[in-house]
Symmetry: C2
């Protein structure tokens, strides 16, 4: 992959004008590109995270071990995701997860200095960096809020009622994929789909694409009162 295609794969610019200025910038910037085989460990939990990694190709799994040594998948990362942009700038910049490749992957690695230089030149990149960190905070805060609900049914009820309130409608536009939702709830993807189907069969919800209609609001509220 030449540098132009690489930067495009990494979602580094919005349009052709920005592409040109971004390309010029990379002439004088430090960066490296590395390829990994499927199943490779890219970094271990606890490693210092000093360069911003951006996925140009492939899929990574972010994993943790619980107290008994069982591996828990925390997150799936796909090109052009940035890897842990928040951690890079945190005072305690140890990686909280182990990164393992799920497919062959190509990673662009940028030292902090390069990240700052790009932020000054490329407003789109700066915005995406701040947005990614912000989205992560919102995700974690919501995950924390939902953790007190033990069943998937309660988690779905609480998530949908909160979104309905925020969106001011009983028709909730899902802003995250079912995969991300299963990571938000800390449950397996098939289990989430099964409970969604059950709730649809019971006439509580109806789903059309990314829209979920709350048909029986009282039933959802009852779930949270128990």
């Amino acid at each position: 992959m030449d540098i132009k295609h690489l930067l495009k794969a990494c979602g580094m610019f919005k349009n052709d004008t920005e592409a040109e200025s971004c390309l010029r910038l990379f002439d004088s910037l430090k960066y490296s590109v590395k390829k990994y085989h499927r199943g490779a460990i890219v970094m271990f939990r606890g490693d210092l995270y000093e360069h911003l990694f951006i996925l140009a190709e492939g899929t990574l799994s972010a994993e943790m071990e619980d107290l008994k040594g069982r591996v828990l998948k925390v997150e799936t990362l796909k090109a052009p995701d940035k890897i842990a942009p928040g951690i890079l700038f945190a005072e305690d910049n140890h990686l909280p997860v182990t990164l393992k490749t799920v497919t062959e992957t190509t990673i662009l690695s940028l030292p902090k200095e390069s990240v700052f230089a790009i932020c000054r030149e490329n407003r789109y990149f700066l915005l995406s960096l701040l947005r990614d960190a912000g989205n992560k905070i919102v995700f974690l805060a919501e995950k924390m809020r939902l953790i007190k609900f033990s069943s998937i049914r309660e988690k779905i009820a609480s998530y949908l009622l909160d979104q309905a309130e925020r969106q001011g409608s009983n028709m909730v536009e899902l802003k995250i994929s079912k995969e991300t939702m299963s990571e938000l709830f800390g449950v397996a993807r098939p289990s989430l789909s099964r409970v969604f189907s059950e709730m649809t069969d019971e006439g509580i919800l109806r789903q059309e694409g990314r829209s979920v209609y709350i048909l029986d609001r009282q039933e959802l509220e009852l779930l949270l009162e128990e």
Copy 2:
């Protein structure tokens, strides 16, 4: 407060050279300054957060209500803290907490456009914005990790053992205050201090200022196995 003192109070620059360039920038930037009495609501949970608020003077409490309508304090914010810098740039930028003043406060409010302009000119500000968002992610991820431990004693044990591993020493340098630690554990500050004292009396720990010595590692590990 004139603008120079205000920007200084907001921690907007590192030294006098940066102060001058930052001051010049503010001649052409949009911003506003607002004062609040003690006990005032600055924003409600669910409000759209479109301007970056920076505390120039005073203290805020970030609060949430639980399902039964009880008020839970989530965080204390003190000048020169930025308020929810992550949320500002998140796709879902509804404030997850209600902001209430604890003392008289002065808040500098910057529209996103101004924040971007400052980021381009002032590297120190950009770094602090990214660092604040990163620190929040680390804080929330650690809070999530600790939530599975029910007692304060277990939380302390897990936190200290993890820090000891990260810092590669049985002498742990506390990187957060006891107040922040009580927010991390989701417990009252006096309860945290009491359990710390008990563990010191039992010869498990010794604390000197910000350093905590793990004297009985086995005892801490046992706590987490139960």
